[in-house]
Amino acid sequence: MVKKETNSIHVPDAPHRPGDEPKFDEWSYKPEDLELLRIDCSVEDAEKHANGLVRVLNDNHEAKGEWDPKLNSDELILGLEHMLRMRIFDERMMKMQRTGKLSFYMRSFGEEAVAIAQTMALKNEDWLFPTYRQPGAQFVRGRDMVSMICHCIGNEEDNVKGRQMPVHYTFREGRYISVSSPVGTQFSQAVGVALASKYKQLDEVTITWIGDGASAEGDYHYALNFASIFKAPVILNVVNNQWAISTHSNFASKNQNFAIRGIPYGIPSVRVDGNDFLALYSVTKWARERAGKDLGPTHIEVLTYRAGAHSSSDDPSRYRPKDSNSFWPGGDPIERLKLHLIGKNDWSEKLHEELEHRIDAEVMEAYKEAVKFGDLANGPYPSSDAIFTEVYEEPPWHLLEQWDEMKRWRDE
């Protein structure tokens, strides 16, 4: 056997690790760089947008360029309020987790704009097929916070009956489809949801999200191919928040551009600043119009940064520089929208503070309401009969037998 003088397997390095100065490329993208695409644009027309970055807010927090969705201040303030609600809710829930009141938690910290701006850009009859990082969509669709907390505790009022980990919400009324832990599965399923709407000839669009890490799963590619082939009314978002737990996005994509992957599948694809509420809203509205006019799927890379830990079980200081999020060129989505509104004289620091206090009180109130239905330490929990129900529409005999056996041990 002849050995070659060569390096062994090439394993990418993350751009920065603990102790390093966080390294991010400077952004040269300006809101004026990219023209608004026609909804019936060709795949080639979108190529520039896949390689560039759609932005609306400039460095001075002014709305500029053709992608400005021209939202009125009420709509923008509502968006700001939902994002703030998400952040404060997350902070409270994380504290609950740290004091043993929740078994586990996952925040949307730094990515609040994604689900909220995108859901606000849709119609209420559109289907949402989220990951665990888009719970904010539920606020847009009017979910009661008490019921969200009851789910996270897994108490008597948990609508999924203590069966799933916290943050794995189901909210059919808001067309928010059940979150599943295996990453990526929802992406290809969403194409089926969209095709069912199309088959029934309903004006419904499906939106789904996947992380940069999970885009390495087969489901991502199944989704792009099926969506393109069958011209599904679906909006396929890759939320590139740079990290899959400790694995940098350079393990999911060699060239570090996720948007461009849609082009060879024949899907118009754009990259958008995921911390720019206005840009996200605008791109999503455009994609929704495309789908609604039977022009097929849109593929969007939402460029953002996971500002916090992956979950309550994760400690990012072990694998990335502390406070790396404060170096992210896209800044913070809430801060940016706030400064934009203040710049337009539609908002003020004082109003912002008041809103924070109001939401904080709202969350505390909701938490107090929720624990009336049981806390994690003492319950009451959903009846363990729920282990056996809804496995099938009707429990078959072998489940009934085992259910009886469980009851004998439980109730004796």
Binding site: W127, F129, D158, N159, V160, K161, R163, Q164, H168, T170, F171, R172, I177, S178, S180, P182, T185, S188, Q189, A190, V191, G192, V193, A194, L195, A196, S197, Y199, K200, T206, G218, D219, Y222, A223, N225, F226, I229, T389, E390, V391, Y392, E393, P396, W397, H398, L399
Partner: protein, 336 residues
Amino acid sequence: MPNMNMVQSVNSALDNMLERDSDIVIFGEDVGYFGGVFRTSDGLQEKHGKHRVFDSPLSEGGIAATAFGMGINGLRPVVEIQFADYIFPAYDQIVNEMAKVRHRSGGEFWCPVTIRTPAGGGIRGGHHHSQSPESQFTHTPGLKVVYCSTPFNSKGLLISAIEDNDPVIFFEPKRCYRGPFYGDPHNVPTWKDHPEAEVPESYFKIPLGEARLAIEGDDCTVIAWGAMVHVAEQAIKESGISCDLLDLQTLVPWDKDAIVKSIEKTGRCVVVHEAPKTSGFGAEMVASIQERCFYHLESPIERVTGWDTPFPHTTEWDYMPSPSRIAEAIQKTQEE
């Protein structure tokens, strides 16, 4: 009643259901224009439209995922995985998603999908056109698992599977599409004149969860499913012993009452399947029978199965349970 082979009976079930329920869509590899590599969807696209019966990309994971999404959004998809051997890219979607969505969503979403897939050996298909992976699905709560064996039961069971509001994996023994298989590769009859090939053209159902007593006897209970039902029938003849032959039909949930009743009568049992022995569904049968019927048993339960090896190509007749192997097992149960 018309005489149908199993290709025609499956086709007839699909045709009836497309007619009855506009929420049904059928797709899979080659199932549309061409009508399927085994011809089970022949003519259905032309009759019911391209939007209802169509080809899919070669992507079992994508087929299952798309069916899942359609299922939770109000359709009733019936998809084909061309060979059961190729179902594994879809395994995550079936096991973690379809099987669990009703439960995980607190009953807010459910997935009434039927996955049809030709399975089993006897067509010189080698490793990857011959496997019978039923036990890889019977171990997943939330799924129903059906294995048909004749033109009559393939139609009646398939209609029940399609109408079921839970996901069903529907195995079709490909060796039996055009004729029952009695274990002799040199003498394969067609379904012509077989009583189980008399199949109504119109809609009818065989309930899931019920076994079929294919032969009635006194001294041994032989349990089989798929192509092995016919091989077992031949074995019973060769053994000269009076046997009940139970065609299980549905593996999950299996027919406890029929099995207990038969074993209480015969006191002896042979379980036959062509899948490998270790962790095969036969092991579940044997364990359950001893739990329920131990004091009625007169002799150890025998298992006749495929070997714990990959499925061979030209030597498949030494792999699959033969009438002689089964007959010997039946005789052995009579010794003690």
